[in-house]
């Protein structure tokens, strides 16, 4: 009954014309249909952030997003970060500051950082922003709250915060 739905996805600058069961998530579509296995499946229920990708520039959990809803959207995954100036700087900073141990959460963390910095530049507030009427300086407390959607079971949080701080300094 589900039938297949025609979907055009732009992933990392390349267009893909697919025919998808509407039950397929964006995460499974990337991994199983397009062979882009850099995006990870942690919980598959929106609770960990390992599956974070950018959709039309905004970070989302690809495990909770039906792929058919992304018809026509620009999706950016970890695979594109090597060719992205900011993405490369974030990756290098994670290495320099031990922002990872096992690495399972890392691709989601890095996509999340890139989007988080854009959100901050655009003036979006967070739950710890005291004055909602002005821009918030990117303190460590702000960084931690803005990155709260990405869990790390290895507890590499201090390294991740240090990496982000370095990227924002340079």
């Amino acid at each position: 009954m589900s039938g297949h739905i025609p979907v055009r996805l732009h992933v990392n600058g390349q267009a893909h014309d697919l025919s998808l069961d509407p039950r397929v998530t964006l995460l499974d579509c990337l991994r199983e249909h397009l062979g882009l296995t850099g995006t990870k499946k942690g919980c598959d229920q929106g609770a960990c952030g390992a599956c974070t990708v950018l959709a039309d520039g905004e970070r989302i959990n690809s495990c909770l997003t039906p792929a058919v809803q992304c018809d026509g959207m620009e999706i950016v995954t970890i695979e594109a970060m090597a060719n992205d100036e900011l993405g490369t700087r974030v990756q290098d900073a994670f290495l320099a500051h031990d922002g990872l141990q096992c690495g399972y959460c890392t691709s989601g963390q890095i996509c999340s950082v890139v989007a988080m910095l854009a959100e901050h530049r655009a003036g979006r507030p967070s739950a710890v922003t005291e004055d909602l009427t002005g821009p918030a300086p990117l303190t460590d407390v702000e960084i931690r709250e803005r990155m709260a959607g990405n869990l790390c079971r290895c507890g590499a949080y201090n390294g991740i915060v240090a990496a982000i701080r370095e990227v924002t300094r340079t």
Binding site: G3, I5, G49, R59, S112, A148
Partner: protein, 325 residues
């Protein structure tokens, strides 16, 4: 996940027609798709409304603000007018879920999201909400996160939203379009208490579609949204609280108090508000109000702490807000 027919609507009228009485609307999908995967929800028709032109945030004649049903939670919280004029709503949204989820979650979906009761999600447990008449395993089970107010022996689940608690304090209005036309309901009457029909959670009937939520014109409130949870971020509320207070010359002129995480709906503590209005804005009045807010609480085996937590939160927040007045 069960198979379903996936339909896309071009406009509101077509969405309502396609959904019919049994169809489900798919907005951000962050709750519906999750429940479909768990097979807690098994709709045969799913109408994707995510591309309908309902995501604008627009001023209303007379001074209020209209939030489109498809406005994303992140965009509402970042909107300048919301931040300046309805900070209690911006704060409630920012304390909900995670940045990634807020980029997908919509105003309409947040209103209609379902409870996080573990037994509701667990297909091997008895749950009247999932299967009317089956019983409620939470009653004699691990009910630390469950309701202390307004529950029934049929269901002790809580509504998980932060946004709705702020909307209840603001006395917002929900605008709907259904097969019989348009209507509006106050948000405080939108969600229902469980009674004998815990599977009926809102006033939505026969494919009613939420089109927008109206915020009334702002008033000179001092307000705040406070949320207590098991970790500092990215967790549902154990107890949350939206307070709006208008104190002039040492007297409380107007007050609104809404609690989250304590009932099947965002809970307006009207009796607490009555203790405040017209009285001196002092600690004695705040104590009376805090006690009144939880006077009707009926804790379960594992959640008596919620009543005391709610009482202290109300008291502390009133003291802080009066200090700013």
């Amino acid at each position: 996940m069960r198979e379903f027919a996936y339909l896309r609507a071009a406009d509101v009228a077509e969405a309502v027609e396609l959904a019919g009485p049994q169809g489900k609307y798919l907005a951000g999908g962050t709750n519906l798709f999750d429940l479909m995967r768990e097979e807690v929800e098994r709709p045969e028709r799913v109408v994707d409304i995510s591309r309908l032109p309902l995501s604008a945030i627009e001023p209303l004649p007379g001074g209020g603000l209209r939030l489109g049903a498809l406005a994303r939670n992140a965009h509402v919280a970042a909107d300048d007018r919301v931040r300046r004029r309805y900070p209690v709503l911006a704060r409630a949204l920012l304390k909900g879920a995670s940045p990634q989820l807020r980029n997908r979650a919509t105003v309409g979906g947040n209103l209609v999201q379902r409870t996080r009761c573990r037994y509701f999600y667990d297909l091997t447990a008895a749950c009247n909400k999932r299967e009317p008449g089956a019983g409620c395993d939470a009653l004699g089970g691990f009910n630390r996160t469950h309701a202390i107010l307004g529950a029934s022996p049929n269901c002790v689940a809580v509504h998980p939203s932060d946004m709705c608690v702020a909307l209840a304090a603001l006395d917002a209005t929900v605008n709907l379009t259904g097969p019989d036309g348009e209507r509006s309901v106050p948000v405080t009457g939108f969600h229902l208490l469980p009674g004998g029909t815990p599977h009926v959670e809102t006033v939505l009937r026969n494919g009613d579609l939420i089109t927008s939520v109206d915020l009334p014109p702002e008033r000179p409130w001092h307000g705040d949204y406070v949320k207590v949870r098991d970790r500092a971020s990215y967790a549902f509320a154990l107890v949350s609280l939206a307070v709006l207070l208008d104190v002039r010359h040492g007297r409380t002129v107007a007050a609104r108090i809404a609690l989250g995480g304590v009932a099947h709906k965002p809970w307006r503590a009207y009796s607490a508000e009555e203790q405040l209005v017209g009285a001196a804005a002092d600690e004695a009045a705040f104590d009376r109000a805090a006690a009144a807010a939880v006077a009707e609480a009926r804790p379960l085996d594992h959640n008596a702490f919620k009543a005391e937590l709610a009482r202290r939160l109300v008291r502390r927040t009133l003291v802080e807000l009066a200090g700013q007045s």
